[in-house]
Symmetry: C3
Subunit: 433 residues, 3 copies
């Protein structure tokens, strides 16, 4: 009797233990899904941040155009990444150079959908970086075609080198040990190098540099309240961008997001200090860009740095964003929102910093070398390829609006709508006379 | 001795297993609460999206009025839904036609509060749909009274037919097997049919249609940057709207939110393609409305469709939003923001699609019939009832502002405040001369 | 044989139970981290809400200045709170009066980083309250110095009295049993009393009160759409502010956030009713402030009140915000955004209400007395100290802009940028002639 009772109790316990373990698996899955979905929502919201920042830094006559480009980036980008990009980036990747399964995913495991959702939001971010740099003089259709090609091909192929092989294999940079936790290089630098190619093919806006002397002329953005709001929204979204890249609701998310916060704050302070030291006015635009540079900078190393190094990485990124904006201007490169210094230069610095300040151990030379290889391969992949794409678009459809359209504003000429129809505006197309 | 040791171990194991199960219950409750609260926050934020979208599509002289209507929708709606609506919608429902307990909940289980919170945010959404359609010519007090009646009565009674009986019983449409996961019909179509009644009683804005010929005249919105931002915020909030309707943080949320994303993207693309095919300009307002139509469309079937069908549902919803806006205009129905095509027509389509594309099995005729019954009963419940309400308000208090007040702008005449006191505006009340 | 089998099974069960318990600990940690990080993100977003609200209620010529103050509050505040404030507030606190460990945390447990992140967002909130009250006439550098001192010292020391001693010891008000769940007093009143000191030292804006008669003149804000958006964002962020203060993803979060929602809604209704009863126009600014007063009011008691009392607390807070704004105006105190009635007076009321309506048991006199002690000590700590700080800054650097700079607008004179360079604005510096 006692033995039978014991046996029964044991059976109950075994089955209840089994139940508990199954419950735990479902609970873990549920918890991780919850975090990744929330993080995806935050990353999605970054698109609104980009739209506001880019629109606010442009002139009112192009407000609709800038917004439309950002809106369609998300719409076309989401569909194309689902159809093509996700497979190229995350599908089986035994070569190490691109994925080859998981295109147009429509029958998969629940978790696959969650990862696809999160990665879709990332893909949309990369291409949006171009839209800001190339604002105010790009043909709408031509831009959309380039955006689709970047989302479908340039971004996911590079991504596969670092994060690929979720379903088998792994990327060649991942095999080397390249550290880029949430994409200082994979997302931000790649986007910025495409933007650089775009503005080289486009040329500067009419009136941005003096025709004779080549001296730069400021073209102030039309709504700095929107710029600041955009900055706040980007900052907020970055908590999902970096924190969600764990793909797991674990206890380390706290440190990752704290590092993100400190680096952003230090980025703005870096921009402020550098502006003061070089006796330039501390502009709102430079301050917001400084904080975004801090965010870009910490993206690679946010999971493997202490808070003190995170703050330092952000501080330097903020300095780079101001210095880089001047460097670009001296080379007559017209990046409307400062996207290339903020996402490209600060992204490269952040990727390097992730190697330099790894877990508080500075100067592991092998790691630093690997980081440099990764940074360089992003440039040598994305820049020439997008240069070819923009060049071909320019030679066929034409990439740049006519000067007349540019002066009238793209809202009027490309969209049959204006942003603020009731408000008197200064006529801005007399600037270049 | 060995037996005693074994018995002790067994007792320990049993009690620890019991403890683990109790912990698991608390953990599950905590996780679900967390998700539903976050989702409720996202749905709340949709109110800001509606406010921006509606305000941006209206003229500057009514900016305060539009914002105030949206703000008070949430404030009055939350209190009234807590007092009355929640009980009517979710209380014990043995008749199948309305609930009869859980009014003014103040001593309940923790989970009840969480569900009430989430549903409060939904209720506020339904009524806000009216405010956009009826903008620029409705008396403020009259609108608020109608909004209260819709939140207290029209919306929750219909809701009880589909989602009711949380505390016993179930709604008659639920018993038929009607599928409306997150409310394409329950929330969006019901709101839109009330809006349709509202604009019929109100009539068109002065100057919207030519007095002699009846030809439509465009009345451009005053701030398209706000429209785009509103679109982004609504899209973001929808992740909570659809995802949170699981009321559970499980692994299926990923697919639901992915479907939401793809349908929204496809909705904008549908609006774009249809505009291009019919040689109309691709307006920002139409693009944003297309994506919202995609969101409305996928709301019913987001949990029971594959991503490919979700994208298709969104695409058609986007087409419907553009076609529907033209259809309304040809009938001299003046829906300021396009709320009725977007929430009503696309909502009906989405509810049908949820039956058509159920788990990839197309054309289960019974299910399709049930969906049509649900769609029709929403119309025949909400439209006549709200028509009566608006008619009675019009005959007593007056629903419509005087023409003079409409021309001066409701901000000035109803609120003693103007939205942008420092900026020179075009005088817009000379349009109809 | 049987015994060995039983023993083996027991060993398996014990080890699996141990595994399950370890998994549970990690799961709980992960879940709590997830919630606190999401809540921190929501609280962060409140900064955008404050920036929009304060900017929208100011004149266009100061839009950049207001935004920059809010942006730098977060940036400087985050770094300083990490370096100094967190240690003073939460470090080992055996005296009961301030903490003495955890400065510049850089090697800690994962959970410590999460708590630090959440509290950093709170600290930034407290100081931002000052920026709104003191808008449109404060020197930028002088403001930033004061903001740093408040974040580093005034706020955390008072905080340590109520919430301190996370790593040992406890604050003297906590020992008395003072209830302030999420900081009606700790965050909001303290911020408001600093703001009161600031506006007393500053004096009113030029033209705010007539030179001869002292009669108040309205100075309308330049963009009420931004005010309403700011209100929505603050309301949204408050779900994280109150809900996250559990520091735990448990089932009680639902009630806390529901109370928050009802109190905010009732606050706006309170402001509306009081305005109507006193025959004043129901302004958008007053409505938004009413809802924020409701939010401030429920912050102390949101975890220990029933929904009915939460709504009542919010209603009274809304009344207080309107009455308080008139009270301030009659005393020639120029609080640009109404921060002091909203955060100070309503915060004091809410802290009292938390004692009055504790778990539905009204009028526990001891508790009420303790609440009054807490409210009073916040005033007598923060007000005199910040008065001294602002006074010293005024006597050294100068706190107030020159009248000429004030009339030209601080954007032009302090930032070399203007918010809306393309839009014609009314010249507002002729008001006082």
């Amino acid at each position: 009797m006692i033995k039978i009772a014991q046996a029964l109790i044991l059976i109950c316990l075994i089955s209840s233990a089994g139940q508990v373990l199954a419950d735990d698996a479902a609970a873990t899955q549920g918890r991780n899904t919850l975090w990744v979905v929330v993080a995806a929502a935050l990353v999605f919201f970054m698109q609104a941040g980009f739209a506001l920042l880019e629109s606010g830094m442009s002139r009112a006559k192009n407000a609709v155009n800038v917004m439309m480009k950002n809106y369609m980036d998300v719409c076309l980008g989401s569909l194309i990444f689902w159809l093509v990009g996700y497979g190229l980036m995350f599908g089986e990747n035994f070569s190490g150079f691109f994925g080859s399964t998981m295109f147009a995913v429509s029958h998969a495991e629940p978790w696959d959908y969650t990862v696809l959702l999160f990665q879709t939001m990332f893909a949309a971010t990369a291409v949006t970086i171009c839209s800001g740099a190339m604002a105010e003089r790009t043909k709408y259709d031509a831009y959309l075609i380039a955006a689709c090609l970047i989302t479908a091909f340039i971004y996911p192929v590079f991504g596969s080198w670092v994060w690929g092989g979720l379903y088998g294999g792994s990327g060649w940079l991942a095999r080397l040990g390249f550290i880029d936790f949430a994409g200082s290089t994979v997302v931000h630098s790649v986007g910025a190098w495409c933007a650089l190619a775009g503005i080289i093919v486009l040329g500067a806006r009419t009136g941005r540099f003096d025709r004779q002397s080549g001296a730069p002329r400021p073209v102030p953005g039309h709504n700095l309240s929107l710029v600041a709001l955009g900055g706040f929204i980007l900052w907020l979204g970055w908590f999902g961008f970096n924190g969600g890249s764990t793909l797991e609701a674990n206890e380390h998310v706290g440190l990752i997001v704290l590092n993100t916060q400190l680096a952003a704050a230090a980025g703005a302070v870096g921009a402020l200090l550098f502006s003061r030291l070089t006796r330039k006015p501390v502009l709102l635009t430079a301050t917001v860009n400084g904080s975004i540079a801090g965010l870009v900078g910490i993206t690679a190393g946010c999971a493997s740095m202490t808070p003190a190094f995170a703050a330092f990485t952000g501080l330097i990124a903020g300095v780079i964003s101001v210095y880089g904006a001047g460097w670009m201007e001296r080379r007559r490169l017209d990046d409307v929102v400062g996207a290339i210094p903020v996402h490209g230069f600060a992204g490269a610095w952040g990727t390097l910093a992730a190697g330099l300040f790894l877990d508080g151990n500075m100067f592991d030379l092998t790691q630093v070398a690997v980081q440099i290889i990764g940074i360089a391969s992003a440039f040598f992949w994305a820049f020439p390829l997008s240069l070819i794409i923009f060049f071909l678009i320019d030679r066929t459809l034409g990439l740049r609006s006519t000067t007349q359209n540019e002066q009238l504003g793209l809202d009027f000429t490309e969209h049959d709508e204006v942003g603020y129809p009731e408000f008197h505006q200064h006529v801005t197309y007399h600037r270049e006379s």
